[in-house]
Assembly symmetry: C2
Homo-oligomer: 271 residues x 2
Amino acid sequence: FSFTCMVVGESGLGKSTLVNTLFETSLYQPKTLPELGSELSSTVGIENISADIEENGVRLKLTVVDTPGFGDFINNDSSWDPIVTSIESRFDQYLEQENRVNRAKLNDNRVNACIYFIQPTGHSLRQVDIEFMRRLHTKVNLIPVIAKSDTLSEEEVDSFKRRILADIEYHKIEIFKAPAYEMEDDETIQENSEIESKIPFAIVGSTQTIQTGDGRSVRGRSYPWGVVEVDNEEHCDFTKLRQMMIRTHMEELKENTGILYENYRSEKMLA
Amino acid sequence: FSFTCMVVGESGLGKSTLVNTLFETSLYQPKTLPELGSELSSTVGIENISADIEENGVRLKLTVVDTPGFGDFINNDSSWDPIVTSIESRFDQYLEQENRVNRAKLNDNRVNACIYFIQPTGHSLRQVDIEFMRRLHTKVNLIPVIAKSDTLSEEEVDSFKRRILADIEYHKIEIFKAPAYEMEDDETIQENSEIESKIPFAIVGSTQTIQTGDGRSVRGRSYPWGVVEVDNEEHCDFTKLRQMMIRTHMEELKENTGILYENYRSEKMLA
Ligand SMILES: Nc1nc2c(ncn2[C@@H]2O[C@H](COP(=O)(O)OP(=O)(O)O)[C@@H](O)[C@H]2O)c(=O)[nH]1
Ligand SMILES: Nc1nc2c(ncn2[C@@H]2O[C@H](COP(=O)(O)OP(=O)(O)O)[C@@H](O)[C@H]2O)c(=O)[nH]1
């Protein structure tokens, strides 16, 4: 069972931390900063890291696709191109395998989810956010999240979410919503609607264990004014993101990838 | 007595809030967000807001120069040009007044300080930060600050500051340091060195009054996990910034503007 998750967003938005928090693994080692005065490469990179992990007793080959450089340059024109190319070339690789006579060993490296990190400005989506999502939403399951949401107060999170959803609707961007099945029981329907009501998830990531003021041991971030708890739903939506990606919706994410792939394949054949 | 302060940094870094906090005035009204789908203008704007305020019993004509759009576009090439032009044209206006026969009414609108807002990534300076500061440091008193520093834990602030100072030194950027005078008393020397040891200031801004857990009324930001206090030196360096800009160093900022102006004038005459 394999799952490929892409992460996109400016440097410093907590992407590596979130991946480690989400999959409870140190997939990303602590970053070494670029050397003083080192010129950033001027194109967005595509880097894959894989690990075998276990989720709910299921062994899973997890691949994370990192996109270093996205949004980091003075000129970010076409910074999405290498990302679109990567997603499409994985579709092409799958297509080519499907067309072979011997289909025994189908190696699926298509991207099942793309987590897009939104800067917690508190205002609205930025130009680069909109341009990226417009080009990617028909090719990959897009899961926008508010990065480092411990920057925002509760009211700021609420109004920011409302504005982001309005921007997304205005630009006709389709973000991943798990399809509703007729056979679902009430409890699942309730759970799914609670998850959906939090989109875009306001997340906080941390692999550190902190002592709270009242003596509990939690994953979180310690400030002089208090401790943000990653797994506390009063503090952020991390739990909801994890539920959507892993517990509840991993199957749907993979199935929807198949649908997006079919659309890509038909367009290609018509072209 | 007049003072002109420029603020530069991406949208959403808390610039308007900081100005209101710093000068204890609602110079900036709550922002109306751009309309859904409105195309940002593609050039950086220069906007002046003035107010008569009182500081330490001294009446002061404060002008804040805002630079909307800086760093906000997909392509931020040359986003510093309108800012450099604004600073130089104010030098030119002063030069022209100095050259007039009647010098009675010298109207000084030169920029006395430029507060540059650094995104709290926790990594290092970004390309746009370095490019901006390299072009501006010889023309204006540059005061870099870490914006929204309540995003960073205490250790993250310390290591981020060290890296920022290393980046600044590497690129030979000169940021404003108050000149030391021989006649200063020990107390002033101590105070100044405490201020300087905190550069770049890690700031938090807020005009809201919040109740703390122990019943005090403070300027701050309220989170489910605690209250950040703007005026608490354990929480951020806002007090130090205010001391440097208003209480202790306003005179030096104006004098140093004169020195930068003289350098500009000499270069212009040699050119
Ligand atoms: N405030 C806050 N800081 C975070 C969070 N997640 C990570 N960080 C910090 O932000 C900095 C950059 O994190 P990193 O994961 O390297 O970001 P990346 O460059 O996007 O991979 C580090 O100092 C992290 O400790 C978060 O949820 N909230
Ligand atoms: N975490 C944090 N948020 C802040 C701070 N200052 C302002 N904000 C919030 O950040 C958002 C943008 O602030 P604003 O002053 O409009 O930023 P500007 O676009 O740079 O002028 C608002 O929701 C503010 O309440 C701060 O010091 N820390």
